[in-house]
């Protein structure tokens, strides 16, 4: 099972766990409707589009409403701490929540009790808390953007809003050097997919791949495209791709979806996600060397 955990911007939505299904404009989990907008909704939508194309089980999601007060976030942490061992997912992807380092430590301890260690992915504030707690190396994949890689490189920072002044340069071209520092300071996951005008796939401080085409600059403005990349990576490793290959294909697929969507800065992320089946149909065979028929048939 792939489990995606994160908050959704619905005030007072109770903690909800279950398999996700797609509606016309929204996602459904346990009767709750979740918007396919920036944040966990975009990530789940991208993962679901991928698993559907590949004929895999839909992602399971653990979601809670939280508009910033932190209550839903704390419920998510506690549920995972209490139940992750019995759930024992194959892939555990953590996303938006209020970063809380001590609960992140408890969660990483609880994960050790899983029957088999899940492949661990963190993006957004779950990446902040993992790094802030000094547990980045426990994770298999982080998916930072240009600002967040500077945060990972700062050994003492707990949030990208406050970092050492000498790291203020957040041009994506600096990503390899910042990643090298992040690895040296043990602030990086085993694999980094740094999202930007150039996407970098980096392991142990070494740039393994750069993805630059197609070049679709408006993607940076569209809220949720980074979340969608993380959803793609999660689904592709769930399909048993190696993390490196999953990261490269996710970066390519997201760019290609932007091209298919004729993205402008006003495009919504759902329109990008809606392109993924066509992107996979046209490109996945060539990119991966493994040719799937849509729906796994």
């Amino acid at each position: 099972m792939m489990l995606i955990a994160g908050t959704v911007p619905i005030r007072d939505m109770p903690l909800s766990i279950g398999e996700v299904t797609a509606g016309e404009e929204v996602l459904f989990v346990n009767g709750e409707s979740i918007p396919c907008t920036q944040g966990t909704g975009a990530m789940v939508s991208a993962a679901l589009a991928t698993t559907t194309y590949l004929g895999l089980d839909a992602p399971h999601t653990l979601l809670a409403g939280d508009v910033g007060e932190g209550t839903g976030s704390r419920e998510l942490y506690q549920y995972l701490i209490d139940h992750i061992a019995e759930i024992s997912p194959t892939v555990l992807a953590l996303h938006y929540w209020l970063p809380e380092m001590s609960q992140t430590r408890q969660l990483c301890e609880a994960v050790k009790k899983c029957r088999r260690r899940p492949l661990m992915i963190a993006d957004a504030a779950s990446m902040y808390s993992a790094k802030g707690a000094g547990l980045a190396e426990e994770f298999d994949i982080f998916t930072p953007d240009a600002t967040e890689i500077a945060f990972l490189a700062d050994p003492d920072a707990t949030h990208p809003a406050y970092i050492a002044r000498h790291l203020f340069e957040t041009d994506i071209a600096q990503a390899p050097e910042l990643a090298r520092v992040a690895y040296k300071n043990r602030g990086a996951a085993k694999l980094l997919l740094v999202k930007g005008a150039t996407d970098y796939i980096i392991r142990d401080g070494e740039v393994l791949a750069m993805v630059t085409e197609p070049d679709v600059p408006p993607l940076e403005a569209i809220g949720g495209t980074g979340d969608a990349i993380t959803g793609l990576v999660a689904a592709l490793v769930y399909a048993e791709m190696e993390p490196y290959e999953a990261a490269v294909i996710a970066a390519k697929a997201n760019r290609m979806a932007g091209k298919y969507a004729r993205a402008t800065p006003a495009t919504r992320v759902k329109h990008i996600v809606d392109q993924f089946p066509a992107v996979f149909r046209d490109n996945l065979c060539q990119w991966s060397g493994v040719c799937f028929l849509e729906g796994g048939n």
Binding site: Q38, G68, E69, P99, E100, S102, A124, A221
Partner: protein
Amino acid sequence: MAFLKRQQKVKFEGGGLVLFQEVPQAMLAEKVLKSAGYTVRLVAPPPELRKGCDLAVEINLVEQAGIERLLKERDTAYVSINPIRPGTAPLLEIVKVTDFGDWVMVKAGNMKITYEKRRGIIVNVSGGGCPDIPYLHAELVDKRLDEAPRPKDVGFTLCALNLERALEECLTLYAEGDKT
């Protein structure tokens, strides 16, 4: 034996300090914040951060926006909110503007707002990772810059403060009639 299984107390790691002029202000702030559900504790500030009294309230720095708002609403005086670690500065000081032709994207720290030049309508909000950002995305998108809710008024986190800075810059650019 059950009484030996008492849950281990979890150490609080906040990363931020609210500084005060006087001790009673610090004690009142702790009470106000705890009653609102925030996890906080009274601590002695390090000498390099000491601005008034020798008592401070440690907070989860990420929650700065909501805490600032609550203390102001309750008329609880404080000097400043600082990261515990010296030498750190807020990234929102770095503002970048990207011209996309019909649209302008303003980036402050880790947050971006894109608006349509002609009508001043917010068309996208991106960046960030805290739970109020998807909510603010929904609240801001499709609104005019001058009619959108202010992230500092409805957000709770450091990401919201960066978004506020981006919105301020968007308003300035749009008001200047620059629209370029």
